[in-house]
């Protein structure tokens, strides 16, 4: 076999045991790696209906055939588990050296179950494991824990770490590595529930390439294209450039989705940050794009992305760059997903405004209250204990009125695109397996194109939502960074060629299209097994009953009927039944019968 080890490492932390298990080549080819492979493993390894924070709930780190090759942006790994926030499948991706070192440990994936008797670091070296005591690390913020681990373990090991939020089982805690985060869905809480402060990996086992010269040539070509105009926005400005654009389109979630624009948006816009602050650029390992923009704030350097800027800024009614940067820095240090943190606090601010929650200072525009709430969430102190449960659980405590404007789908907080102003994205939020998610659906790409009228979703929009979701699925399974998507002239043909060069499989573009459909449906099957119901594929009531007010661009409204029409078209196009369940014959078509039967 080329490109893969053909096995995964199952680690039982309780027993301090690790065993290799084979991954048949047919499975590797059908699920690739990353999110695809981890979905297959989760279905196989997770007990049915398990509590995500139960010791036996698996946490999976998955690599891929492309990891470790010279292909730009391929040094990525997926982390997959049942989410403590949504009780559904959750996948998150992060970049850098952990992926390279993890794959060199000799496995295509690492499945962690069990619970350590005391706070520990799980050390994995060429497939052998040890548990190192970590009482001295427990309680440390992420930068301090990383520094201590680096000092203790030396440069050979790379580690994925949780902060205090993960230790306190905050349902949207992250797993972090080298300033990158597996951010969404509370994977940090899953690691924390196993009493693991970190997973450290090191190895010497490299995979061979089927066509080394071909892969090197492809890598050179891809790198050259990655310097071109298709990635220029990410390189020159980063994702923070989205804020002012979305504000102009009246699509910037503001004050808990009550508006589509913020009056002083320019103050926190990417364009302004670049003009007024010192911004440096960094790259992940093996990346030629360099999209990371580090802003020099009064509190030190802060890595900032659009989603963080909107969630801790406009969503909370804030346009003070010092406050937003400080809040971003605190979330990163404490190990909190910035989207869910900002959205939960913004939701609580509206609850206070409506008299549903008593917390006098927690008001839109109050930076001090935002910063205090972040600290309380990470430590689960005072109101933070409720906020740490996320918007859905908080709303359920507060009653039906609160649920109607809690910004979440399946429990996952909605990212930075107002679904009334971007209605293909609205469909993506509603049907996606991990909940309100922009990265797995990527339907904003359709709304940011002439293919659809973003303010008037139609059944035909479903085709575009599927196109972007399928492409994202392949990128998340190969794995390649989505910021490369614009450089491909024919994505499936070129991806198949890359995979052929690495693995030697005679894979075609058509096969990869089928693979995408297979993985999307496999995720759905996992959710169905865990109790998914059709009622989950929707949006909060607010988006059907409160039109987005006019702003710099006209307002927009979305009706339930319009979303239902798009959903029906989506289900039909996917081959699912009218309620969104998966028919038996589709299992055969997609070669999923054995996964379900196991």
């Amino acid at each position: 076999m080329h490109g893969i080890h053909g096995r995964y490492l199952r680690v039982d932390v309780t027993q301090t045991q690790a065993t290799f298990h084979p991954i048949p080549e047919s499975v590797a080819r059908r699920f690739l790696g990353g999110v695809g492979l981890a979905t297959w493993l989760l279905y196989r390894e997770a007990p049915v209906q398990i509590d995500p924070l139960d010791a036996q709930a698996p946490l999976i780190f998955a690599f891929s055939p492309l990891v470790g090759t010279p292909l730009t942006t391929s040094a990525k790994f997926a982390v997959v588990a049942k989410s403590p926030l949504t009780n559904r499948l959750n996948d998150a991706l992060a970049s850098s050296h952990f992926a390279l070192a993890g794959k060199r440990s000799g496995a295509d994936a690492i499945v962690i179950t069990g619970q350590a008797a005391r706070p520990s670091v799980l050390m994995i070296e060429d497939g052998k494991i040890t548990l190192e005591p970590a009482e001295d690390l427990w309680g440390l913020e992420i930068p301090d824990a990383q520094a201590r681990l680096r000092q203790r373990l030396g440069p050979a090991f790379h580690f994925a770490v949780i902060g205090p939020a993960g230790e306190h089982l905050v349902r949207f805690a992250t797993i972090s590595h080298d300033r990158r985060h597996a951010g969404r869905g509370g994977l940090g809480a899953v690691l924390g529930s196993k009493r693991l402060k970190a997973v450290a990996v090191h190895g010497t086992q490299r995979c061979t390439l089927a066509d080394p010269a071909g892969v090197v040539a492809a890598a050179r070509s891809l790198s050259e294209r990655s310097f071109g105009p298709a990635t220029a926005k990410y390189r020159e400005l980063g994702t923070i450039a989205n804020l002012l654009t979305l504000n102009r389109l009246n699509a910037l979630p503001t004050r808990n989705f009550q508006q589509g624009q913020l009056a002083d948006a320019l103050h926190i816009a990417g364009e302004a940050l670049h003009e007024q602050q010192t911004v440096t650029r960094e790259s992940c390992a093996a990346c030629t794009i360099g999209c990371e923009h580090i802003v020099a704030s009064s509190q030190g350097p802060v890595r900032i992305e659009y989603e963080t800027l909107f969630a801790l800024g406009s969503l909370c009614g804030l346009a003070d760059p010092d406050i937003v940067l400080r809040a971003a820095q605190r979330c990163d240090a404490l190990g909190l997903d910035t989207i869910s943190t900002g959205a939960t606090i913004a939701f609580a601010m509206e609850c206070v405004e409506r008299g549903l929650l008593t917390s006098p200072d927690l008001r839109f525009g109050r930076g001090d209250a935002l910063l205090a709430a972040i600290e309380q969430i990470a430590s689960r102190s005072n109101l933070g204990d409720w906020l740490a449960e996320g918007t859905k659980r908080l709303a359920e405590r507060l009653g039906d009125e609160a649920l109607s404007f809690a910004p979440q789908v399946k429990g996952l907080e909605i990212p930075g695109y107002d679904p009334r102003a971007m209605q293909t994205m609205a469909l993506g939020f509603a049907v996606n397996s991990r909940g309100a998610d922009h990265n797995r659906s990527s339907a904003y790409e359709a709304d940011f194109s002439p293919h659809v009228d973003r303010r008037f979703g139609r059944p035909e929009s479903a085709r575009w939502a599927i196109e972007t979701e399928d492409k994202a699925t392949i990128m998340d399974s190969l794995i390649l960074c989505k910021f490369l998507r614009g450089v491909f002239e024919d994505f499936y043909r070129e991806s198949a060629s890359l995979l052929r060069g690495v693995t030697g499989w005679d894979v075609t573009a058509e096969e990869l299209r089928l693979t995408a459909r297979r993985i999307v449906t496999a995720k759905k099957l996992y959710n169905i097994r865990e109790g998914w119901t059709p009622a989950e594929d929707t949006l909060p009531e607010r988006f059907f009953t409160q039109p987005l007010p006019d702003g710099l661009a006209p307002g927009a409204s979305l009706t339930r009927d319009r979303l239902e029409a798009m959903k029906s078209a989506y289900y039909q196009e996917r081959g699912w039944d009218p309620k969104g369940f998966v028919p038996a014959d589709l299992l055969q078509t997609l070669q999923l019968t054995d996964m379900v039967a196991q």
């Binding site: 298709a230 990635t231 926005k233 102009r248 940011f448 661009a553």
Partner: protein, 92 residues
């Protein structure tokens, strides 16, 4: 009145286009979107590459008055129109 009859519009730049143009806005006269793009790239040659049609589209999108994104550059313009130029890569 050398420009009489030719609509006067405002071009707004966002993201990469703003960075390359070094401007937030540019007033100009143009009868169609194509004429406006010609004038924009004449005044700001650094923007030219962003308007090029590649296999997967140009690097910028054009919206008239923040409405649907335009594919037809023959779209006619009227006095006071605002042509919004923004990056086609939306994701975060």
């Amino acid at each position: 009145m050398p420009h009489s009859g030719v609509p006067e519009i405002i071009v707004e730049f966002y993201a990469l286009a703003r960075r390359r143009a070094g401007l937030k806005e540019m007033p100009l006269r143009a009868a169609t979107v194509a004429e406006a793009v010609h004038e924009i790239t004449r005044r700001c040659p650094r923007l030219r590459e962003l308007f090029l049609q590649k296999p997967n589209g140009p690097s910028v999108l054009i919206s008239l008055n923040a409405g649907p994104f335009l594919t037809d550059w023959n779209t006619t313009l009227s006095d006071g129109d605002r042509l919004v130029i923004l990056s086609a890569d939306a994701g975060g």
